[in-house]
């Protein structure tokens, strides 16, 4: 049943895509309602699956495997799909956001030149993203991974008349493909060592030591490189801000809620493959990305750029969580982030729509008077992103920070991880409220645009309402559901149970339990995530478990307090600097800070000059090398060929000359000339006189006789 549903959920948008790709000009309204309806149906199905996953005694609800790519006799790579709780959760996230974005786009994209094609793009994205989370092996994951890259390329480049849009599309594809190449190398290692790409087989191979040592590290790093590309981790994050060239609903769907989160999903899904050094690498990449992107977001002016860097930063959080082993926290944050960041992007879309496609925040101001509903739900999402109690982001961010703290307590050398996390929390609150105050409060800075601004119509508002509400209750709501199943739990335990039961994948869980003790020791948080069950069986470890639970509890309390304080400080600073008082001035003029730190400001404004660096160090040299190779090919390689041709013709010329001069002229014609000359000269002897002939005859006889006599 679940299997049929999960296949259906995948087939619906696929059928929609095929129909629309071929027939969209002939469908009513280019098939927008059809596409939206299909995703709506998909949402209903995924909710059914999710409900089943909640109540199912077996964590693995469906599993289907079939041979797909034969590689040699007997062997072959399998295709397949599976549904476990992790998948069920991702299905809800993907179909929900996708459905709402479809709905939102009906108004937002109205009258677009390629309206039908846009919906085709959304459909193909939905198909590939659903395939990605349904896959039960690395090969299908990789395939869908590339296909979401394709749909991202198509949708970023939707307005491809603009050079900047097509540039951004290419940049996104190539940058993520760099990660994908790494991932493919990881896949090749797995294939080499294990011979199968099924998750279950890979985890078993790690357990038995078939995949271990340097190969395991390399495979892990390779696969993680794929996650770095898609989830825009430093230094492969550069494509995501540029991807904002795409239509805003696309940014909400692909570049905020779902596709960019695929890397986090991947880290969670294949966590048992990663060994300790890889996990540490993952943690540092995540932490650094979180703080790095947050600093850039501090100064950006484009409303979508701020959100884009915020997304990069939040993805860093999730990756950090995976790295310290708290993958359930990371996936929890993925879900809540999908709600509030999609809400923020769609809200920004409503603002941009109202302001006639003006994206610069320095032109905004006072918009809450014109669009109060948008402003209200935008505020909900902003508060969630800032991690304010009791919004959903508070719970999930707290879970990550707590895991980072626990990790740091176990390994005091790695203080950077929690510190970066808390610093990011502060900066996030600051830049988000900077954005909120600049956009919705104060006096309008562009009066003309302000006058024409209006509240969004219902297809645009409804997604905001749904997502804004989920941003508020997203964490708690599901916690309640879990609490129903076990009413004794409450508070922090609720969140933790939510994280464990709702977001863990049984096969990941199984594999983690089986992680060798030394590996478990190096990743205490990984152990902590799946600890209780394993430890309960082992009485000797009970004390440790209790100790660990205690540490986790303490970490959660500290994380909550600290992040709340930092978040509120950030909001306060934002208010002081950007919330205008009655006279239009702020308490602290931002210029007071920007001017003395001019250089810092410039560096941040230029995003640490990474784009320029890549342009100078990678893109231009590659193009030059291409030019050079092309010229080399023509001038050197082809010249050798032409030289042989020339040589042949030279030889032919020489032979021809010799032929004409020596053979023809001297030998053939020469003998002819000689004959003619002889004839000419001898003709004088032809006098016609008989006496003379007689003399010749006699002379001849004499000479011949003499010769005969003397010689013989």
């Amino acid at each position: 049943m679940i299997l049929v549903l999960s296949i259906l959920i995948f087939l619906l948008p696929l059928a929609g895509f095929i129909v629309m790709a071929l027939q969209h000009p002939r469908l009513p309204r280019h098939g927008d309602w059809l596409a939206t309806g299909l995703l709506g149906a998909g949402l209903v199905i995924s909710l059914v699956i999710f409900r089943a996953a909640l109540h199912s005694p077996s964590p693995l609800l469906a599993n289907l495997t079939f041979p797909w790519l034969p590689t040699g006799h007997g062997g072959g790579l399998l295709g397949g799909l599976m549904v476990d709780r992790l998948t069920a959760d991702m299905l809800v996230v993907v179909t929900l956001v996708s459905f709402l974005v479809h709905l939102f786009s009906i108004k937002y994209m109205e009258g677009d030149v390629r309206y039908g094609r846009y919906y085709c793009g959304l459909q193909v994205f939905s198909v590939s993203m659903l395939g990605l989370v349904l896959a039960n092996n690395l090969l299908f994951l990789y395939i869908c991974w590339e296909l979401v890259g394709l749909s991202s390329y198509l949708l970023i480049g939707h307005w491809y008349e603009k050079k900047s849009a097509s540039d951004a599309a290419i940049k996104a594809f190539i940058t993520t493909r760099l990660g994908d190449v790494g991932m493919f190398i990881g896949i090749m290692i797995c294939y080499l060592k294990v011979g199968s790409l099924q998750y279950a087989d890979l985890f078993a191979a790690v357990k038995t030591g078939t995949l271990s040592g340097g190969w395991q590290t390399a495979a892990g790093l390779g696969i993680f490189l794929g996650a770095m590309g898609k989830s825009a981790q430093f230094p492969l994050h550069v494509w995501l801000p540029d991807a904002m060239e795409g239509p805003t609903p696309v940014s909400a769907l692909i570049h905020a809620a779902t596709m960019v989160a695929a890397g986090v999903y991947l880290v969670g899904r294949v966590l048992p493959i990663f060994d300790a050094p890889t996990l540490l690498f993952i943690a540092y990449i995540g932490a650094f990305t979180a703080i790095f992107a947050a600093t850039i977001a501090l100064v950006q002016d484009d409303i979508k750029k701020v959100l884009a860097y915020s997304t990069v930063s939040q993805l860093g959080y999730m990756i950090l969580a995976g790295g310290v082993g708290g993958y359930s926290a990371g996936l929890f944050h993925l879900t809540t982030h999908a709600f509030f960041k999609a809400c923020l992007f769609l809200g920004s879309g409503a603002v941009i729509w109202a302001m006639h496609h003006e994206q610069s925040m320095s032109k905004y101001g006072g918009l809450w008077r014109k669009m109060p509903k948008t402003a209200f739900f935008y505020l909900l999402a902003t508060l969630a992103l800032c991690g304010v109690y009791p919004f959903s982001g508070f719970w999930s961010k707290d879970a990550i920070l707590a895991d980072a703290l626990v990790f740091n307590w176990a390994h005091p050398g790695h203080w950077f991880l929690p510190v970066a996390g808390f610093a990011t929390a502060f900066m996030t609150a600051f830049y988000m409220f900077r954005q909120y105050f600049l956009t919705f409060t104060g006096r309008p800075r562009d009066h003309h645009a302000y006058e024409h601004a209006r509240e969004a119509p219902w297809p645009m508002l409804l997604p905001l309402v749904v997502l804004g509400t989920l941003a508020l209750v997203g964490g708690g709501l599901k916690g309640e559901w879990f609490a129903e199943m076990n009413p004794r739990l409450s508070g922090i335990e609720q969140v933790r149970l939510f994280a464990q039961a709702g977001y863990t994948s049984p096969i990941v869980e199984e594999a983690l339990k089986a992680t060798p003790p030394e590996a478990a020791a190096t990743t205490p948080a990984a152990a902590h995530a799946g600890a209780e069950a394993a430890h309960a069986e082992d009485a000797a470890h009970e004390e440790d478990a209790a100790h660990e639970a205690h540490a986790a509890h303490a970490a959660h309390l500290l994380a909550m307090k600290l992040s709340s304080v930092l978040g509120l400080l950030g909001i306060a600073l934002g208010a002081l600097m950007y919330l205008q008082r009655g006279n239009g001035a702020t308490v602290i003029n931002p210029a007071w800070i920007a001017t003395p730190f001019k250089q810092v400001y410039t560096i941040l404004w230029h995003k640490y000059y990474l784009d320029e660096l890549y342009m100078a160090a990678v893109i231009l040299p590659t193009r030059w090398l291409g030019r050079f190779t092309a010229v080399f090919d023509r001038v050197v390689i082809d010249s050798v060929v032409n030289f042989f041709g020339f040589f042949g013709r030279l030889g032919a010329f020489v032979v021809d000359l010799a032929d004409r001069l020596f053979v023809d002229d001297w030998f053939v014609n020469g003998s002819a000339r000689a004959a003619r000359l002889a004839g000419d000269k001898l003709s004088y002897a032809q006098t016609g006189r008989v006496r003379q002939y007689l003399v010749f005859m006699v002379l001849g006889i004499v000479v011949i006789s003499a010769l005969l006599v003397f010689i013989f």
């Binding site: 797909w68 790519l69 034969p70 080499l192 590659t622 291409g626 092309a630 090919d633 060929v641």
Partner: protein, 516 residues
């Protein structure tokens, strides 16, 4: 008479009969001539599909000379009896795949050739001869016959480029002809070596097998216990260069861009789609099986694997630097055929399967790319990438097909290009991980030049000078849509193609079982 026994002969010579029919048609009746070609190639394509359908590689027990070949269609009649030259036709999985591909492409290419106005009769008559030559190469199991078809195919190609080509057609045609002929001479020498060897091998017991390819492979007349001799090396490299020119493999590739740029679109389609595969086919049918000891020598494997990687990367860089659209596609062929060489050279099952799939995939994707370029050239009469731009908005249907074609070539999963690449890499990774990692940079470069080209040609604001360009017409759609469908179908269900030739791969690799 058993129809199946006639099948290969029909597939090979039906085009020739069609060509004869064309010759008897009055020159002015252009329409009739075209439809004769369409009908002939259509029937041939149907016959190739029938061949696919009835093909059964398991009928002959393994361990015999003909194992892997299809017994139903084997044809063997003495031709020049005194020299043991036979009219011997037969197919194994590898040939079936390539025959079907050839049937498919030669059928579609006739539609591509519809815009040709000059000497239509001559064009299609030569084209039919070309199809016979190509089919003959893939069905011949007699070395001599193979050589004959190999040469037969050259001649019409020379005229098709030399008469219907672009501004530098004479240069390109002669270059193509002479270059390939140089390779043929080397192949001829090896063939003679085998002929004379068979006269004395085991006291001349097997003299009648002098040109019998499966028997030569089975008997291995030049086999000596202690590894490959210098003479075997010479023969291996003779064959290799002969086929490498056709593939083409760096540094023997420079005839290709010139030939492609000058050739008319339909001929480019055949050139890239089928002719290049003949090189790969020769390597898989003759070069490696006849001389497995050399192919399995460590240094040779290394050298050829590296050469394959060089092809991949060098071709991609060259493509990146091109300013002519068609030249770019030509260099992408050089890059893509590098996967074939890499896959064969490492002698791993996945890789050889991948190399064969890559030949098939490249047949579809490059044919499609050349058709796409041709459609544009038909309208713009130039191919300078820099002068295009914004075609996407002006020709939306064409643009949609172009996206399919270019992404298939890029190696996007669920399209043909991916399967070949992935299998080759999976196999070559087993051979050497470092080399393979270097080769994967080709995936990046390919994405780079494909996307950059698409941006410059299709994306951007529509230009005034392209405003009057009509979208794809009926004939262009008839040729492009099946290619697009094939590009997707075989990407989603690679097993359709793989099931055909996997047995042949196994037979091929059995030759090397005790050597590596």
């Amino acid at each position: 008479m058993d129809f199946n026994k006639m099948l290969l002969t029909l597939i090979t010579f039906l085009p020739l009969a069609g060509g004869g029919l064309i010759l008897m048609t009055p020159r002015e009746r252009v329409g009739t001539i075209r439809w004769i070609s369409v009908a002939t190639t259509g029937i041939v394509f149907a016959l190739t599909c029938w061949l696919w359908w009835i093909f059964n590689p398991a009928a002959i027990a393994s361990g015999t000379a003909y194992s892997g070949y299809d017994v139903k269609t084997l044809t063997d009649v003495p031709w020049i009896g005194a020299y043991h030259i036979h009219y011997r036709l037969g197919v194994d999985g590898l040939s079936v795949l390539l025959i079907v591909m050839t049937g498919f492409l030669s059928f579609l290419a006739t539609f591509v050739a519809f815009p040709i106005k000059k000497y239509v009769k001559g064009f299609f008559a030569l084209y039919m001869l070309l199809v016979t030559g190509m089919m003959g190469v893939f069905v011949a199991l007699d070395f001599f016959l193979f050589y004959v078809f190999w040469e037969v195919m050259l001649l019409p190609m020379y005229f098709l480029i030399g008469i219907w080509g672009g501004p530098r057609k004479e240069y390109a045609a002669i270059k193509f002809f002479l270059y390939t002929l140089l390779g043929s001479v080397l192949i001829l020498l090896v063939m003679l070596a085998y002929y004379f060897k068979m006269q004395s091998f085991e006291g001349g017991k097997y003299a009648e097998y002098a040109f019998n390819i499966p028997q030569l492979v089975y008997l291995q007349p030049f086999h000596v216990p202690d590894g490959p001799t210098l003479f075997q090396h010479l023969m291996f490299w003779g064959l290799f260069i002969g086929f490498a020119i056709k593939v083409p493999i760096f540094p023997f590739h420079t005839w290709l861009p010139d030939a492609h740029v000058e050739a008319p679109t339909a001929i480019s389609v055949i050139l890239a789609g089928v002719l290049l595969k003949m090189g790969g086919y020769g390597i898989l049918r003759l070069n490696y099986p006849l001389l497995p000891e050399v192919g399995a020598t460590a240094s040779v494997m290394w050298f050829l694997a590296i050469l394959g990687v060089v092809n991949i990367i060098y071709g991609a860089f060259c493509a990146l630097g091109q300013t002519d659209f068609k030249r770019l596609v030509a260099y992408s062929s050089v890059s893509h055929m590098g996967y074939v060489l890499l896959g064969v050279a490492v002698l791993k099952e996945e890789a050889v399967n991948g190399a064969i799939f890559q030949m098939f995939a490249h047949g579809i994707s490059s044919a499609m790319m050349f058709t796409l370029v041709g459609v544009l050239y038909e309208r713009a009469h130039h191919r300078e990438i820099a002068r295009f731009g914004g075609i996407g908005t002006q020709m939306p249907v064409y643009f949609g097909l172009a996206v399919v074609g270019f992404f298939a070539s890029l190696g996007l999963p669920m399209m043909v290009g991916f399967i070949g690449e992935a299998l080759v890499f999976l196999g070559s990774f087993k051979y050497n991980w470092l080399l393979t990692c270097v080769a994967t940079s080709g995936m990046m470069l390919t994405a780079g030049y494909i996307l950059w080209t698409m941006q410059r040609v299709y994306l951007g604001k529509g230009k005034e000078e392209h405003a009057h360009f009509p979208d794809c017409n009926r004939w262009e759609l008839i040729s492009l849509v099946p290619m697009a469908v094939a590009a997707i179908v075989f990407g989603v269900l690679p097993v359709l193609a793989l099931n055909i030739y996997q047995t042949s791969t196994g037979v091929f690799l059995n030759l090397f079982k005790n050597l590596i």
